[in-house]
Structures are given as C-alpha cells and as structure tokens.
Symmetry: C2
C-alpha cells in the first residue's frame, strides 16, 4: 500500500518547506526577524505545527545552517574553478579563502546564523568545551575540500604547515576572524571601505604564505 509512502513524502515535503521558509526569512529579513511564528505564517501553518516536525527552534535552524555550509562549499568550488584549472595549489588555497570572504559579504545574514547559533559553548565546567552536534564546515564536505587543497599545496612543496588539517584550521581562522571583525564593525578604524577591507584580506593571505619575518623575499608582497 502506497499510502504510508505518500504520507511520508508529504511529511518530508512540508519539513523542507519549513526549512526553506526559515532560510528565506533569514536572507530576506535578517536573523533577528526569524521567529517560529514568522516561519509558521510563511508556510501557512500554525506555530504549533512546526513542533510536530522539529524538536525545537535549534533543530530547525540547524538545517538552515547545514544548507548554509552547503552554499559556502559551492562558493569555494566555484571560486577555485574560476581561478583556473592550471592554478597551483597555493593559488587554489587562496581562492578558497576568497570564497569564504565573498560568501560572508554576500550572505551576511546566513553567515550570522551559521556562527552565532551554536554560539559559544556554555561556560559550564572546565574541559567539557567543544560542541558535538552543531552543524559545521565538516557536514557538507567543504572542510575536507579545504583540507585537500592545503594537502595538495603541501605535497607540491608550496606550504609547510604542520599538517593539512591544522594548516587549514589556521587559514580558516584567519579569514573567519577578518570577516567577523569587519562585519562586527571592529575594523572601522583600520579599514575605510569594503575595497580597503578586501585589500587587507589580500595582505593577510600574503602574510600566511610568506610570513612577516623580514629577509624573506618571494617576489610578491600582497595582492588585492
């Protein structure tokens, strides 16, 4: 009997409709406008219905975050391809970084959900830090993609990180920090415009690849 299947299909359909509504609200009206009631109104169901499909708001939002990381992954791949197939691994690594920055600037609201939601772990006891179930880069394959890029750069002798994973983490932290501070308005005194900020990002990438210690001249100093 296909009746159970049909029900399951309908159930799944509404579930994704809900997530899509949430995603649309985030990108159209911002994170602050994202309430259960607003989502419910958009899908034309009562707020209580949402709780038949999701345990709570966090579980619902986690799916939005997951989608966000998928989009971020798409940005990365696109940017790397735009860099050209012949780009050396270090340039590809840079392209991944640029993709991260562009994504954050293009989808600021999305970026907020992705990193404000699991938020900082509770200040409970010492040691038991580190969230376990929050969605992150790892979910959409974007993380392994980044790590692979770094690994190729290491293999090609272009980077000498202490390991692809840790190297990728450091590079991630750098662009994430830059973007977070910029979007939070904390670089207002340093950077005058968005173009100027992008220049700063370029300089930062140069720093990572070539270091700050003088006496090392590899040709380029920074690229905008």
């Amino acid at each position: 009997m296909g009746i159970a299947e049909r029900r399951e299909r309908e159930r799944e359909a509404l579930r994704t409709r809900i997530v899509e509504a949430a995603r649309d609200i985030v990108s159209e009206e911002g994170l602050d406008a994202l309430s259960m009631r607003a989502i419910a109104e958009r899908v034309e169901y009562s707020p209580a219905t949402l709780y038949l499909y999701f345990k709570d708001k966090e579980e619902l939002l986690r799916e939005v975050v997951r989608e966000g990381f998928r989009r971020l992954g798409a940005y990365m791949r696109r940017e790397v391809e735009a860099a050209g197939a012949g780009a050396n691994p270090a340039e590809q690594h840079r392209a991944v970084g640029w993709a991260y920055v562009y994504f954050a600037l293009d989808h600021t609201a999305y970026f907020r959900v992705m990193f404000e939601l699991p938020s900082v772990t509770r200040v409970t006891g010492p040691g038991d830090c580190c969230a376990r179930e929050g969605a992150s880069l790892a979910d959409a394959g974007s993380w392994s993609y980044t790590v692979d890029t770094v690994q190729r750069a290491i293999d090609a002798g272009l980077l000498r990180a202490s390991g692809a994973e840790r190297g990728a983490a450091i590079a991630w932290a750098l662009v994430h920090g830059l973007v977070s501070l910029y979007l939070g308005g904390h670089l207002a005194g340093v950077v005058g415009s968005q173009e100027d900020f992008l220049r700063l990002v370029g300089e930062a990438m140069g720093v990572v690849h070539e270091g700050w210690t003088p006496g090392v001249e590899t040709g380029r100093s920074a690229d905008a």
Copy 2:
C-alpha cells in the same frame, strides 16, 4: 546648594551599580541569563527604572562591553610584563596574542557580550557597513597598545607588515578567529583538548611570523 550635586552623584552611583549588576550576571550566569528584569532585581529597582538611566538594553550593555575591553587591556599588559622587560618586540607581540586567547578562555561569557552584541551589522544597503558607535578595542587604549607593540617590532626589524595598524589588525583577526571557532565548537574535529588548541594557537603565531612558504628556516617552528 550642594543638593543638585548630591543628586547627580546618587544618579551616577546607581547608574554604575546597574552596569555592575549586569556585568556580574554575565560572568556568573552567562549571557543568556542577562535580562533587564534580572538586572533590575539585582539592584532592587523595578525594570522600568533602568530606562531612566539607559535608553535601552543595548546602551546598557555597551557599558559592560566597554568594561570588558578594559579588562582585556589589563590582560594584555599583564601578559606582556610577564614576558619580561627584556623580551624583544616580537615576543611581546606574541604575548599580546596569548593574552587575548587567555582572556577569551577565562571570561568566555564576557567575550560573547563583547563580540555578539554589536553583532554583525545590518544587511541594509551595500557600502554602509561598519558600526560607528559600538564599543571596541579602540575604547580602552588596548588597540593603540597593540599597534604600538607591532610598531616596535617593525622598528626593530622583526616584522615587515605593511603598516603597524594593518599588521595589528591581521594578527588580531587570526587570534580572534581561532578563539571564536574554538569556542563555537567548530574546531572539534581538529583539536582534541584545550591544550591541543593552545598548541594550535602557537603554531598559528609561528605561521604569522615565519610564513608557510618553505625554504625559510628561522629556527623555531612553533611554541606551545
């Protein structure tokens, strides 16, 4: 007539009492427990009274954030002094970075208020990014302190950033990104423990100073 002065004094006293109550709630019970009603209860006034002293919650919290940046500044100075007076500017620069990390780990709730509150700027129009009135590093002199440290390192020929301000911003972004990702649980797959995270921070600092490009050997690779 000293009556107006006394009133002004009392007014100021209550104002700071309110801010202190807010600060205590943040550090004792976390950011999520920080409500206007909770603050009011702690100072033993009605919630409505708070609005005679602050325009809204954001204005009140901004003062807490300011205090947070002051404390961060104290951390920095302390850490630099701990590094010893004879430490070279590059080591002092590292010390400032470590202070930032320690502060974030020791006062996680504080750290959250400081960087989640002004939050990401609204997604309004293109170009008009960058908050103007939110408290930041600049307020407590901590920023100029950091910049000075970088400047000394440059003067001493130990760094070759494109400028002290921009160099400081990049270094800030790196540690800020590391700490943010770690506290958000996004490094769970990379870093196993807090000690491991601190090791990663050390590696990151090494990267900044020495770069990733191979062929450069300056002696040390990372310090934990």
